[in-house]
Symmetry: C2
Subunit: 240 residues, 2 copies
């Protein structure tokens, strides 16, 4: 939750008590970075001030409720909270095994469900939270772009089409790089030595963008080989 | 990954070895449910057969790469993998602290980054994976709707607008429900007793949809009170 800028965590009657040293370790510093935890005896206490409530559940019960996915829930939470008396939206997650009790679900404005595999529904609670907060974080970043400089580098992506020919596998390309670098090494290309890793990364990074087909990898390896042999020949000529 | 239908996990030189009893516990049965783990000494080995590679990173390095978010990465992975010789797309996640080494990033077709708070960037690896697989799972569910019956209940959501008046807090509504149920109890409404919880949940579920303002809660509580007192009076009349 802290990764995506949320800081108000309310625990209802936590099984292992609170504070909890294990949670402290797992939090990776989130408490020092602003996450405030409040522990409540009952759900009612925890809902103090909450004006809009979303319940996460993989079990869509018989009770008639509006159902949405993580995107819809994030939009609803975003629209129903914030400054200027807009209130507080809360998202409620239940224990990993038992889930939320019916009486908690009954209190919700909205059910949120994820497209989990029906044969493997039960999502770890922390991960269920992460899915929601990521959707919320997307809206937050779109609303406040100046706070998220890395997002400026995200460009609309033209989905790379499949090449007509067989795509190369990454291990083929790996071998092609090694071949190329082996010959470059022999040719004294990598200088000074301490810059070798950076020079290799830059070369690989540029070449990988070509999205090689299987055939092209063969062709390029042939070219490397020809250059290497040619250089050998040239040397022989010079040595003459 | 299993929750969203992915089953091919490749580990490169795992710090704590493999098999790992702790991972087994955390997996909640995913290995029995089809997740196949292969351990590799090197990244090159792990990339066998991979034709499209996406690297997850919060640190956008100097190397020139296309950058996308989780949605774009899921679309790219979905478009570049599957049957009919379409190849295998892989998403690569690095250690929580050190992240991916530069030489791994250099091999990627695409960088994936999330809108994390710049002051709290480092996401737990399992959660980073979960964010991606959820986006992938959305595409998968959209492509194969018959496999995801619960998703049929997800309806486009009209974002609930803010009421003009102050919204009620959930604890106010909670107290209103308790008041209502207390009076219904006294009136003998809940019968048979074993159905009480279900009857309460159904009532709460229906009433909560009204999205109460603060004022409306007061009004409704006044109404309950009036009915309760009125009934008292009526009884007195009858007892006369």
């Amino acid at each position: 939750m802290r990764n995506f800028g949320l800081t108000d965590l309310r625990l209802v009657s936590p099984r292992d008590g609170w504070p909890n040293p294990a949670a402290d370790t797992m939090s990776a510093g989130a408490f020092d970075a602003g996450v405030v935890v409040n522990v409540h005896e009952t759900l009612q206490d925890a809902l103090e001030g909450v004006t809009y409530l979303i319940a996460a559940t993989a079990r869509l019960r018989g009770i008639e409720k509006r159902v949405t996915d993580a995107v819809g829930a994030a939009e609803a939470a975003f629209g129903r909270s914030g400054g200027d008396g807009k209130g507080i939206a809360a998202v409620m997650f239940g224990g990993e095994k038992a889930g939320l009790p019916n009486e908690a679900v009954a209190l919700s404005d909205l059910l949120m469900t994820y497209p989990v595999d029906p044969d493997f529904k039960s999502l770890n609670l922390a991960q269920a939270v992460c899915v929601f907060v990521h959707e919320w974080g997307k809206l937050n970043a779109a609303e406040n772009p100046s706070n998220f400089p890395s997002q400026n580098q995200v460009k609309p992506l033209e989905i790379p089409s499949m090449p007509d020919a067989n795509p190369s596998t990454r291990d083929d390309v790996f071998r092609m790089f090694e071949h190329f670098e082996f010959e470059l090494e022999r040719a004294g290309y990598f200088f000074p030595p301490e810059k070798t890793p950076l020079m290799k990364d830059n070369l690989r990074s540029a070449l990988i963008r070509a999205d090689w087909t299987e055939q092209e990898v063969q062709t390029f390896r042939g070219a490397i080989k020809a250059l290497a042999i040619g250089r050998g020949k040239a040397r022989v000529v010079r040595e003459d």
